[in-house]
Subunit: 69 residues, 6 copies
């Protein structure tokens, strides 16, 4: 019965990458907690980099300074 | 003081359908818990079918197989 | 495929009241959007009144002033 | 290690206003709880006014009646 | 910069199982999206079975009927 | 109409500290976006350190290694 919400920055994540996240999380929950995949929901939320802050700064700005965010 | 978040797939839900959800949830909370509608907030979040997984698969793909999702 | 999260203050809501919320929301989603109840999840989160603020004040304090919250 | 989610209506909030929210929340968490800004994440979610209900009505409609919402 | 929220029913999940979920999700995000683990946060929320509904029924009741939930 | 959710680790945060967070966030939203405090809700969610992961490790364990988390 798990419900998983994944927030990431909106960065052109492809459909296949999303599928890989969904498959991976669903398998993980089966392996660790024996959860039935039929009852596992995963939602991916893509957030604009202007709308995500870390260390008091927008990710949009952080990325101008360093490549790692 | 309730706050309700409804996640659904993005499927062309109309403005009137959204209004019906908002009205229905707000009335339910008044009937069951005597909550003042003026303090009840409802948010509807529409999620792309590529971004929603069930049973380890994207809803986009599930819908190609069956009509029920 | 809806997923509904209901945040309410922790106030001794009974098991039957929770059941009534779950039933009501699930029916509403079937009526308005034709969603299969088997795919509708509802989570109720109960929040301590010290942890909920409205108008800049804790609900704990608001309730000392008025009965309506 | 705080994680803050701010839901607001989608109203043309500017990049600078978003930056001001991010800075303000991050500073507040340092002042009140001594949280390291490097570990504080803030996400701003902008919600269409059709998708936000208060008092059983869509914000879109409430705004036609009064200016305060 | 991912932020992952995992909602599961409260079922005596052990500290080691929680660690396994956290490790697994963090690795998955590195593998699929090349996300720096230092920026990946994972929160596990445990929900009472009275507070989780599926198919219009509380998980508490569903479990009396079948073992699979 | 903002709704703010603050996730922090459960660390004996006092009622006064919670009040300070609620007041601060509510004022910030008035200053930056001119939001009416009467419509601003703030929820603080306290998460067990076993249930919060960063960099692939539980905060419980991170704190044994360093003081900064």
């Amino acid at each position: 019965m798990p419900f998983v919400q994944i927030d990431i920055t909106r960065d052109g994540v492809t459909k296949d990458e999303k599928q890989a996240l969904i498959t991976g999380v669903t398998q993980l929950l089966r392996e660790v907690l024996n959860k039935d995949p039929k009852l596992t929901h995963v939602i991916i939320r893509e957030v604009e980099t202007d709308n995500w802050g870390l260390g008091g700064e927008q990710v949009t700005e952080l990325r101008k300074q360093k490549n790692k965010y």
